[in-house]
């Protein structure tokens, strides 16, 4: 695609969608990293999980304008769904992935009536409340979830019956990458569709959308359900590749973290959000390796600086680069 038509297309979608160049770099980088860092595959796999989770949240906040402080509820639900299913003996990874996606999507759908109601502040409270309830429920159901001890005792069958998860994490990485690619392409289709456009319309002005005949609540319900399902898939991939599910996957910290990542990435910018997840995960690892004791201090400083240095988030920087080149 030429620069001019890309720019035209991105104008059509509010300057927020067409980032072919950055997306290509992202995928090429992900594939290259497999060969460049064979000793870091476990970490890279977790980056992919974080990216998926961030993208699922970005569909809500970035595109639909729905803020949530409890998105980890779906992430954790997916993780537990995959882990519990594997414990009962159905340990095929794709089956677990599908089960986790469907379960979290259904829960998200059930919750939509209380989420799409109200404004941002009530949503923050409601999502926070729901996430706390899910957390406490998981804590109480010790027989099912292992309570505060987590669920460590399960095996995952080889992918497609052929590729066994190995200790170096090669298959885990490839598996996570495949799921990530599917999620990315799917979300790309969603946000570039008329539905995606309607979502951004809702984000920009909720009151005027009904005036042009757009069913706001239904659109938000669909977005919330999709987002919940994808968050569940991200959780399932984490549980399957690390063979562990625990309460912190449902916890507030993870919800807050993903909100930070989406904001850092530039809301509504898929490549930007993915890069932000990558940067965040990498920074956390580098800092905690450099100083196992004081790394959180460094993380806080970098996050605060990023607000001043990169105002539109990483996505804003990417757009800046692209527009300067094409101009």
């Amino acid at each position: 695609m030429t620069g001019a038509s890309a720019a035209a297309r991105s104008r059509l979608f509010g300057g927020r969608v067409g980032i072919e160049g950055a997306t290509l770099v992202l995928f090429a980088g992900a594939i290259a990293s497999y060969f460049l860092f064979p000793n870091h595959l476990a970490l890279l796999t977790q980056f992919l999980v974080l990216m998926m989770f961030a993208l699922s949240y970005d569909l809500l906040q970035g595109h639909g304008g729905i803020v949530s402080l409890g998105h980890a509820a779906f992430f954790g639900l997916g993780a537990y769904a995959a882990a519990i299913l594997a414990r009962t003996g159905y340990n095929d990874p794709l089956l677990g992935l599908a089960f986790a996606a469907v379960l979290s999507a259904v829960v998200a759908l059930v919750l939509t009536p209380i989420i799409v109601r109200g404004n941002d502040f009530t949503r923050l409270l409601v999502t926070l409340g729901v996430a706390s309830l899910v957390y406490e429920a998981a804590n109480r159901m010790r027989g099912l979830t292992g309570g505060a001890d987590g669920l460590p005792d399960f095996e995952i069958a080889p992918v497609l019956g052929l590729y066994k998860f190995d200790f170096e994490g090669r298959i885990a990485f490839i598996y996570a990458f495949m799921v990530f690619a599917m999620v990315y392409v799917f979300l790309w289709r969603v946000v570039t569709s008329p539905f995606g456009l309607a979502l951004r319309g809702i984000r920009e002005n909720t009151r005027r959308m009904p005036a042009i005949g757009s069913p706001v609540r239904r659109h938000l319900a669909v977005a919330y359900t999709l987002s919940g399902g994808i968050a569940g898939m991200a959780g399932a991939v984490l549980a399957q590749t690390s063979r562990f599910a625990s309460l912190d996957m449902l916890g507030f910290e993870r919800s807050a973290e993903i909100m930070m990542v989406a904001t850092l990435g530039g809301s509504g910018h898929m490549a930007g959000v993915s890069f932000a997840a990558l940067a965040f995960g990498w920074l956390k690892d580098v800092l905690s390796t450099a100083s196992p004791k004081y790394w959180q201090l460094g993380l806080g400083i970098v996050l605060m600086l990023s607000v001043f240095v990169a105002r539109g988030g990483i996505g804003g920087l990417l757009d800046h680069l692209r527009f300067r080149r094409s101009a």
Binding site: A148, D149, P152, Y163, G169, R170, G251
Partner: protein, 402 residues
């Protein structure tokens, strides 16, 4: 669906094929002429203090015994697992220490979930891991590569239950943190106490990180048992618990407080203060122990960290983890193969600052003295003073062999 499955399969085949071409087999690890130890400890967040105790124990050991063993220089790589409920992180850090840093041995795991999450990984990597704390009985059954030098809740709670039944306590109420070690503590205290003729009159489980104990304790005061048995995970949580028992007047109501030793750790006694008065605890170490190893340990600890920095059992556990490892490496003449090291570790006996210890040859778990202590103020300082010793206590919590 069929199309997707087909496409996935093709993509996977391609990826796996390139993978097998591009990745060379990992070189043999032990051949790099040094002993690399990977540490997985909680070093940030609410349990950072515990992590520091372990690190200090290791520093004391290396100060005394040096940084080479059997001709091998010792390299230590430290990673932060951020406390409990981060099993996936503990597992990844373990994987990275083994793959990236070529660690020959892992020392660490302060918390049960973290050790449990790493178990299957160690089985695949075939690397020994010395558990520095995590005290649930079942952990060592999850991997043949685990060796534990700390203690188990069953070991402590069963000892205390037995002592309580023999010392005029007829009824007891139990209050434990709601996770695996707490359940172990509850089970084994009850078993030993009722076997000795005692009766449990009430049971409650509190959230692992609970800081507010007044409502639970109020209930205990109303029931008025002879004794309250409690376990919680140490650190700030236990300090909050101990202070609450004092404020609620548990002792004033004539209820004897029985706790596992990690609730009244040596370094927390300053904070617990008067709440320690008369409290009976059971542990495998206190600084008042008189033996040559402990004297040397305390002396070097004081030299390195000053008189105000008080070591607790965790520092001794890390000290002993290093001790058993150095001895094992010396015994195998610098052969770092996992099986050789494990064979050297099994059945090992030595004199630790906590007294004589042994690594059981079949369970790979620790056999050690358990001390019944009473909280007393000596020269203006609160201390746990041993009143009775149970010698060579093994972990009673193991699944019996079939």
């Amino acid at each position: 669906m069929a199309f997707i499955a087909c496409a996935l399969r093709a993509a996977f085949l391609a990826a796996a094929a390139t993978a097998s071409l591009a990745t060379l087999p990992a070189p043999a690890v032990a051949a790099d002429g040094k002993l690399t130890i990977g540490l997985v400890l909680p070093l940030s967040g609410a349990f950072a203090n515990e992590g520091r105790q372990y690190e200090n124990g290791i520093k004391v050991f290396q100060k005394i015994h040096g940084k080479t063993v059997a001709g091998l220089p010792v390299e230590i790589v430290t990673r932060d697992d951020q406390g409990p409920s981060s099993g996936d992180l503990a597992r990844r850090l373990t994987q990275e220490l083994i793959v990236r840093d070529k660690a020959d041995v892992i020392i660490g795991y302060s918390f049960t979930p973290n050790a449990m999450a790493a178990a299957t990984l160690l089985n695949e990597a075939k690397k020994p891991a010395i558990i520095v704390n995590a005290a649930t009985s079942i952990i060592t059954e999850k991997s043949p590569y685990f060796v534990r030098v700390s203690w188990t809740l069953a070991q402590a709670a069963a000892t205390l239950g037995d002592w309580a039944a023999k010392n005029g306590i007829k009824t007891a109420y139990t209050m434990v943190s709601d996770y695996a070690p707490g359940l172990d503590a509850e089970k084994w205290f009850k078993q030993a106490f009722t076997a000795g003729g005692g009766k449990i009159v009430g049971t409650v489980r509190t959230p692992v990180t609970a800081m507010e104990y007044a409502p639970y304790l109020q209930r205990v005061v109303e029931v008025k048992p002879d004794a309250l048995f409690a376990f919680n995970p140490g650190g700030d949580v236990s300090v909050a618990f101990m202070k609450a028992t004092h404020e609620r007047g548990v002792a004033a109501a004539g209820i004897k407080l029985l706790v596992t030793g990690d609730v009244v750790e040596e370094n927390a006694l300053v904070l617990i203060g008067d709440a320690l008065d008369g409290v009976i605890s059971v542990h495998h170490y206190q600084i008042g122990l008189q033996n040559p190893a402990n004297e040397q340990f305390l002396k070097v600890h004081k030299e390195l960290f000053g008189a105000d920095d008080i070591p607790n059992a965790r520092a001794v556990q890390a000290f002993d983890a290093m001790d058993v490892l150095y001895r094992a490496v010396a015994k195998t003449a610098a052969n770092l193969d996992a099986d050789a090291l494990l064979n050297a570790l099994k059945g090992m006996k030595l004199d630790s600052p906590r007294g004589p210890i042994e690594i059981d040859a079949t369970t790979r778990d620790i056999v050690q003295n358990m001390y019944i202590r009473r909280g007393l103020k000596i020269d203006g300082r609160w201390q746990n003073v041993a009143v009775e010793t149970y010698r060579a206590v093994a972990d009673p919590g193991k699944t019996p062999p079939k």
